[in-house]
């Protein structure tokens, strides 16, 4: 502790010279000026002593009283260390700038984290925040969280709650998504169930309404399958209708349908090949802004591919800071026509058509599929004739 204190206080080593060194030692001691590391340089005339830095003037005056002279021979400790930088204005300016930047940057938002979202993507929320003037590089204390949240909720209907928790350089955007409103059928409106496509009725599941067709019957698109009109017959077995009632028809009608889909693709393609010439340029990413170290003359005068890669500065926790280097590369390329393997093309078209039919069928299934492939004028066409089982009933509201 004492050593640390001495270091902070600073010490000076001086050479004292005179005929009465002992006298100087004694008057220094009497004045409370502690001396240490006293070494004789010249017997009886000259000695090297160390004392507190801040008592130099007093030591000099006492030396004059003892008819001695005092010459500095070295100094140590914090005061002398700081004095060395007295005239280094650049360093002082740099230190001041460092402190200024540190103060400023510690108030800028560097990392934004979005939590609580499931269906709305982080990037969508961040883009909307950016539109409202909040992003990486924003001045944290200047953000009005309440206004920002209100504006965001007005613009993003998918969100029901939003707040921003700013801690230092980190901003945590906490959101809650709007619960989807369930679709409510209006039972007060009458509706028929009609056929969405042609087919043979395979199965019917009537919940409300009167079946208008029978299983095995052929129907055309638009035909009523389940009618909204109910007939009330007398209970005496005469079959006489004494009243009618209209309801909203509900139910499912499964039918065997036929679907024909076709897809085609050329049997030649253009392959892009780089010709080996690549140019790379660098840029700086700073608080979400990009500063390029090059002009517009870096790209080629012919077709080229441009690839930009950001190398961000990353924290040990894995979060990227809004600082980094951009590397942009331009590679010149040319297109060469190459033949496409017909089998691969057919396979690709078949899988595409299968996916498309499955999308159209929903819960339905393909009962039977027939494929037809045709090559003409450099184009391969695949046609799918599928016999399917699907739900064809669709609600048609009545006026």
């Amino acid at each position: 502790m004492q050593k640390l204190f001495n270091r902070l206080r600073g010490s000076v080593t001086a050479e004292v010279e005179g005929p009465f060194l002992e006298r100087w030692f004694n008057i220094c001691a009497a004045a409370g000026l502690g001396l240490w590391d006293v070494q004789l340089v010249e017997e009886g005339r000259k000695a090297r002593v160390t004392f507190s830095h801040w008592r130099w003037k007093e030591a000099e005056e006492l030396a004059a009283k003892a008819m001695c002279t005092l010459a500095p021979a070295g100094e140590a400790g914090l005061p002398s260390f700081l004095r060395r930088f007295r005239f280094r204005y650049g360093m002082i300016a740099g230190a001041a700038l460092f402190v200024l930047l540190l103060t400023l940057f510690s108030r800028l938002i560097m990392v934004i984290e979005v939590v609580g979202n499931e269906t709305v993507s982080d990037s969508a929320i961040l883009a909307e925040l950016q539109n409202h003037g909040f992003g990486v590089g924003s001045y944290g204390p200047g953000v009005d969280v309440r206004d920002l949240a209100n504006e965001m909720l007005l613009d993003m209907e998918e969100l029901s709650f939003l707040t921003v928790d700013i801690t230092g350089i980190r901003a945590r955007v906490i959101v809650r998504e709007t619960e989807p409103v369930p679709e409510i059928e209006d039972d007060t409106k009458y509706a028929d169930i009609a056929a969405a496509t042609d087919g043979f009725v395979a199965d019917m599941n009537v919940i409300a309404g009167r079946p208008a067709v029978e299983e095995g019957q052929a129907v055309l698109k638009g035909d009523v399958l389940i009618s909204s009109l109910l007939f009330n017959e007398r209970s005496d077995g005469s079959g006489e209708i004494f009243s009618t009632q209209q309801v909203r028809a509900k139910g499912q009608v499964w039918a065997v349908t036929e679907r024909t889909l076709a897809a085609s693709t050329p049997l030649s393609a253009l392959r892009t090949e780089g010709d080996g010439e690549t140019r790379r340029r660098w840029g700086l990413e700073f608080l979400g802004r990009r500063f390029n170290f090059y002009g517009n003359s870096s790209n080629f005068d012919r077709e080229c591919a441009k690839i930009s890669i950001l190398y961000p500065i990353t924290l040990p926790t894995g979060q990227s800071l809004p600082f980094g280097l951009w590397q942009t590369g331009w590679t010149a390329w040319s297109e060469t026509p190459v033949p496409v393997n017909a089998e691969s093309a057919e396979q690709f078209l078949r899988s595409t058509l299968t996916r498309r039919v499955e999308t159209l069928l929903g819960d339905g299934e393909i009962l039977d599929a027939q494929w037809q492939t045709e090559q003409r004028e450099g184009v391969i066409t695949v046609t799918l004739h599928a016999r399917c089982l699907e739900q064809i009933g669709t609600t048609v509201e009545l006026n």
């Binding site: 030692f25 004694n26 001691a29 409370g32 001396l35 006293v38 009886g44």
Partner: protein
């Protein structure tokens, strides 16, 4: 007169078995091995050299002899001498 008071204080310290350095203002010396000599209540250095240092202790003079002697630290009350001390004498 002053000597008389000094002598009285010395006597009082001896008679009542009191510490002389406190009651009579006598110097207190401590030798740590042969490398370090401490003295409290000194009255200043009379002569200083690498082989011999004379220190005033009031009514007596302390002579420290040896080689490579250094005044390691000194303030108004205490001093410390280091080096190869061969003898400490009173004159």
């Amino acid at each position: 007169m002053e000597h008389l008071f000094d002598r009285l204080r010395d006597r009082a310290a001896e008679t009542f078995d009191l510490p002389g350095d406190i009651v009579a203002g006598q110097p207190r010396m401590e030798l740590v091995g042969s490398r370090e000599f401490w003295m409290e209540g000194h009255r200043g250095i009379l002569s200083y050299g690498t082989e011999e240092i004379h220190i005033s202790g009031g009514r007596l003079v302390v002579c420290v002899r040896g080689t490579e002697l250094d005044l390691r630290a000194m303030n108004a009350n205490t001093l410390c001498i280091s080096g190869n001390i061969t003898s400490v004498g009173l004159e």
